[in-house]
Amino acid sequence: MSWAFFWLVTFVVAFGAFSLISLVIAIRGVAEIRELFSALEEEMRRKRS
């Protein structure tokens, strides 16, 4: 296997994984941010009480 082919495969994996994981983060991240806010609000309520 030549270096050129090896680096091509590496790049395809890197770019593909970056694009795919970014898409997953974009979709799943919203729910996690909602959860974070809920937890923080709950914590604030707990402290106040």
Partner: protein
């Protein structure tokens, strides 16, 4: 030979897109400040960060315009060989993610900063020393960000140079505003939004490069213009460089403060491990994708270049002198106007002539060094000039929005990271009038400002043993003692269950802590001070070589000793404060040699020297001066009874 200058098509529409993205980020960042009540909310978002948001936050903090620039520069000068650093990063992330090496133990201790661990393990002096070196190295590291990023923005947007300083100041103020007010909560939310911009910009630029140059064009450029180099990383970069990168990335992924803060902010250690596994592939892209942009820029400008012939002269040395003089007249202007297709062949010719003549005439080495420096300068600006040349209006605005998002998230993350070290590990311990300073937790709050009570670990328990000794014995009965440094959280819970709220903190010793409000104020003031320093440093400092190397050496200033002291503290019973102190002093001194031009040490040598001396200092110091009883792994950091005796 008159190459046309590149003029950026950045328009009002592009400007509007970029400004709107900034305003949206600022608005979101400021809205969440109401959630900040304690220092723990401020620094680690009350440890409520999930996997995907954590990955976004980690990556957007560690990717800025400067990252794209130095990675592209590395690709431009080293070709595909540069990719090896991306593979190293992936390997390290997978290793850390699968094994939880260091991060799991640090996360379970519920600390806020890495030096905090040093206090529980080695004592306050090591914490402060580590804090000083981290703050120093981290600030130097961050200090060149604005000036390099300003060059990117000047090229891509065409902002006149007289407004660049104000532009950068504006960007820093945006990051400062929401970081100072909202801390980690603001960061997590804005990082998520910024990540979306950043990822979109990254994909757009990569597709544009592939469309403009194509993979075959990149391969052709490396084959045709790198003199047989650019493929084999072992041959081009050397084993020493690769070894140093492996060590450095292990340290970066485990104890680099802005990364460690993400680990500390996760919901639990398991999420932390998953986050590293997931981001391993993002970090691979973080390296390789901009390197491909750099190689594309190499192909792009060589594709526009015209052949250049050596000046007519009697000797090669005279030819080089003439060529160097010609470059002296035109190089800076070519760089500023994007005429890289004119500068690049001349620099290449000078370097080739110098390399051929070096054996016969040692004076030629001077020209080779000069040519290499100029190639590095071209490499830094080649990618932005290419973007200015190939991206159309509208798309350019989206890309700039992505780049600004990347940059501001990095500033914000680093502001919080380094200021937390300055405030928590340098100023607060020094302000504490007596005993070991303690960071109050929510659970310890006894007054309206959350000030903690004073722990008295020597007060006897029911069986006459000190209270925390008893708590420890109950929490970790013989036979299932945990190794050094693990269970702050479990011990804390045990002590709370015993109704002794004063002892809920690891390492408590006759302390007089600052209140939560004071710590919040202190950290916020430090963020402002750090911003001012960065603006000044970026104006006065002149880089001695490629940005990539400067950034890694300033990081290495404290990374080697920090990782060694953490790993040694967690896994080696004989590790002592003397060893840790020597490790920090020797490791930092060795790393600084790269920044002294007269020593002419190459980056890998300085880096590996730092690691070698840090290890030697740690081992020799620990063996010569073994730990005293109070600094040995104790119940405070979860050490075993055997280790304490």
């Amino acid at each position: 030979m008159s190459a046309p200058a590149i003029v950026s098509p950045f328009s009002l529409l592009d400007g509007a897109i970029a400004v709107l993205s900034l305003l949206a980020t600022l608005w979101i960042g400021l809205r969440v400040k109401r959630y900040i009540g304690t220092i723990e909310d401020y620094l680690v978002a009350n440890r409520g960060m999930g996997l995907y948001v954590g990955a976004a936050s980690l990556l957007s903090t560690e990717v800025g315009i400067i990252t794209y620039m130095y990675q592209a520069q590395f690709g431009f000068v080293a070709g595909f060989s540069a990719f090896v650093t991306g593979l190293i990063t992936l390997g390290v992330c997978l290793l850390v993610g699968r094994t939880g090496f260091v991060i799991t133990r640090l996360r379970e201790m519920e600390i806020l900063t890495v030096p905090e661990y040093f206090e529980t393990r080695y004592g306050r002096s090591v914490r402060v020393l580590a804090g000083v070196l981290m703050a120093f190295g981290g600030s130097l590291n961050l200090g060149i960000f604005p000036i390099i990023e300003a060059r990117f923005l000047a090229v891509v947007t065409g902002i006149p140079s007289q407004y660049l300083g104000w532009t950068m100041a504006g960007l820093l103020v945006v990051a400062l505003a929401y970081t100072a007010l909202g801390g980690m909560v603001s960061l997590i939310v804005t990082n998520y939004v910024q990540y979306l911009f950043l990822a979109a910009g990254t994909v757009i630029v990569t597709l544009a490069c592939l469309r403009q140059v194509g993979w075959s064009g990149m391969v052709g450029a490396v084959e045709g213009h790198m003199g047989g180099h650019g493929w084999n990383p072992i041959q081009d970069l050397g084993i020493g460089f690769i070894l140093w990168q492996v060590l450095l990335w292990i340290a970066l992924m485990t104890v680099w403060q802005s990364v460690a803060m993400r680990t500390f902010s996760t919901r639990d250690a398991a999420i932390g491990k998953k986050m590293f596994t997931l981001t391993g592939f993002l970090f691979l892209g973080r390296a390789l994708i901009p390197m491909v942009w750099g190689i594309s820029a190499l192909a792009f400008f060589w594709g526009r270049a015209e052949p250049v012939t050596a000046p007519v002269a009697e000797t090669k040395l005279a030819q080089m002198e003439q060529l160097d003089a010609r470059l002296g007249e035109t190089f800076r202007r070519d760089l500023d106007e994007g005429r890289l297709e004119r500068a690049l062949p001349q620099v290449d010719l000078l370097e080739r002539l110098a390399r051929e003549e070096k054996a016969a005439s040692p004076e030629a080495a001077r020209f080779e060094d000069a040519a290499r420096d100029r190639r590095g300068e071209i490499g830094l600006l080649a990618m932005p000039w290419m973007l200015a040349a190939i991206l159309p209006t509208g798309i350019l605005g989206l890309v700039v929005a992505g780049m600004l998002a990347a940059s501001i998230s990095t500033y914000a993350g680093y502001f919080l990271g380094w200021s937390s070290i300055i405030a928590q590990d340098i100023v607060a311990p020094l302000l504490s009038s007596r005993g070991t300073p303690v960071i109050p937790r929510d659970s310890e709050a006894t007054g309206p400002e959350g000030s903690a009570g004073v722990a008295d670990p020597t007060s006897p328990g029911s069986d006459g043993a000190p209270a925390d000794e008893q708590a420890f014995t109950e929490a970790f009965p013989r036979g299932r003692r945990r190794p050094f440094g693990v269970p702050g959280k479990r011990l804390t819970r045990q002590v709370i269950a015993q109704g002794d709220p004063r002892s809920t903190r690891v390492g408590t010793r006759d302390a007089e802590p600052l209140s939560n409000r004071a710590r919040l104020l202190l950290t916020r003031v430090t963020v402002v001070g750090l911003t001012v320093f960065i603006m000044i440093w970026s104006l006065v400092y002149d880089l001695p070589g490629p940005a990539y190397f400067y950034l890694q050496v300033t990081a290495n200033l404290f990374m080697a000793p920090t990782l060694i002291a953490v790993v040694g503290g967690l896994y080696w019973r004989r590790a002592s404060a003397t060893g840790a102190t020597l490790s920090f002093l020797l490791g930092a001194a060795a790393s600084l040699t790269y920044l002294v031009p007269s020593l002419k040490l190459d980056v890998a040598t300085a880096g590996n020297l730092s690691w070698a001396l840090a290890v030697a200092g740690f081992v020799v110091g620990s063996l010569l001066v073994p730990p005293e009883r109070r600094e040995a792994p104790s119940r405070a950091d979860g050490g075993s009874r055997e280790a304490r005796s």
